[in-house]
């Protein structure tokens, strides 16, 4: 479903990703942990073409990321083709990034209406259903500024789901939330995972990773230091860096 092979990426002279390889099978949940600045966000953004990587190859659903292959040639993608690829990958940001000038319902419908040219009238039913699924049936006509952080993030998840993504990327979805609001967002993500969604989740929520993830990866300084079953990586870390990190997060 998703494969990354030896991904490298530099900003100027600083190499942020130094050969990252990862495989995620259909229906699996991969959690990516690691200290701040280790390159987790950059890696997620590469998957979704928000950043270009310098070397290596990635595939999402059998398609090369960033290129169109014909025979032995790789053609760089144009804006429109990139947009098309992105439409099948959902992304949830740390800062929610809801459209503030649209209601919750309009946020959810925006993707299908603009990108798939769907008729708003025909979408309405599904959009309401998505809001119900994230527990916000009664907030359809609220603007983001009228919602709590946790509610905003759940709308953001519904907005991503409206495009029927094959893969969902989460970049620290609960890091900007007040502690008492974290649970409601994790619950929605747990439901998604149980429903068979393929997910790559960058998170500091160790409990969530242990419970939901099929694989846990620990990243430090642009490389995956340790990968494996969550119980092992998080319960019995082999590397000094992983141990250090976990002791800080759990403290």
């Amino acid at each position: 479903m998703f494969e990354a092979r030896d991904i490298h990426k530099s900003f100027g002279h600083v190499e942020v990703l130094r050969g990252v390889s990862m495989t995620v099978r259909r229906g699996e949940v991969a959690c990516l942990l690691g200290p701040s600045g280790s390159g987790k966000s950059t890696f997620l953004r590469c998957i979704n073409h928000l950043e270009k990587f310098d070397a290596g190859r990635m595939w999402v659903d059998g398609e090369l990321v960033g290129y169109r292959q014909s025979g032995r040639r790789l053609h760089e993608l144009h804006d429109r083709e990139i947009a098309q690829r992105r439409s099948r990958i959902g992304m949830v940001f740390q800062q929610f990034n809801l459209f503030p000038h649209r209601t919750a319902l309009q946020n959810v419908m925006e993707g299908p209406v603009v990108v798939k040219r769907a008729k708003p009238r025909e979408l309405m039913e599904e959009a309401h259903q998505l809001l119900r699924r994230v527990g916000l049936a009664d907030k359809a006509h609220h603007y983001p500024s009228q919602l709590s952080g946790g509610q905003q993030q759940r709308v953001a998840i519904a907005r991503a789901l409206a495009m029927h993504p094959a893969l969902m990327l989460f970049d620290e979805p609960t890091s900007a939330l007040d502690p008492e609001l974290v649970g409601e967002v994790l619950d929605v993500m747990r439901d998604l995972a149980a429903g068979g969604m393929t997910m790559i989740v960058v998170t500091h929520e160790i409990g969530f990773a242990r419970e939901v993830a099929d694989v846990a990866h620990f990243m430090a300084d642009g490389v995956l230091v340790e990968s494996g079953l969550p119980a092992e990586v998080l319960g019995n870390p082999q590397h000094e860096r992983t141990r250090n990190f976990l002791s800080k997060v759990l403290a």
Binding site: L50, S87, F96, L98, F99, P100, H101, S145, G149, A160
Partner: protein, 322 residues
Amino acid sequence: MAGHAATTEAPAAERDDDLVVVPARHPGRWLAVACIAVLAAMAVHLLVTNSRLQWSVVWQYVFSKPILTGVLRTLELTVIAMVIGVVIGILVAIGRLSPNPVLAKVAWLYSWFFRGTPLLVQLLFWFYLSALLTHVSIGIPFGPEFASASTNSLITPFLAAILGLGLNEGAYMSEIVRSGILAVPRGQAEAGQAIGMTRSEVMRRVVLPQAMRVIIPPTGNETIGMLKYTSLVIVIGYAELLTSASLIYARTFQTIPLLIVAALWYLAITAVLSIAQYYVERHFDRGFQPAAAKSRGSRLLRGERALRPAPEQPTVAMRSVS
């Protein structure tokens, strides 16, 4: 105030209900009102008694046909020039922010040139274009022509006015639009891209609607400015409001009353534009106000908030999307 009284009289907490609240007095305000009233009376006295203002002449001309025609033309010039200005402004602003370096440079040159030369010169330039190019034609560059016309017959005073005012305005609007676009947080564009929008869809659906909040107030300003800049076309002889007035006083020598006629119309139109601006701003502000302030922003609520410790609800409502 009640709280203050309660803390000074030590055991007064339970007798709180027989305290009387005395509203604050504002002697400064009354003094200001008195001063302004005197000044206003002097101004009105001057306006009414100074016979050189010739109010009868003002009333005679203010709704006369040439003046009304001038008003219509001024409005027409303002609207068309602003529409051209806004469209060009958006295109040039997007050009300047484009990843295409050629486009970015050309857009920069445009705003440099049109902001860097006097509007008066630009108006005269368009009017006298025929001296530079004797005829204009449509066809393949350096190849055959399909249609051709002499510049002299093509460039009417009206067209020269529209070109001069509109192209110049485009340069100023581009800076306003650009600052509006830059005021939208980057995460917004990325959220649009992430659900599969192309660059232009992101611009149209996500960035520009939010940029409008920043763009509208200075654009209202520009429109009001444009209303008066149209009077510059007097140099190319297009009979808008001021030119119409000047044509009359050139004949009758009633200069001051006719300038007052023109000024009254400019003031009236400015008032209407200001009201329109208020409604447009309110439209683009939707979603940006905290819930309570909008739906229940009554005096009662604000009064309540002043006396009690701030309720928790605003902290949630004010958390805007960054």
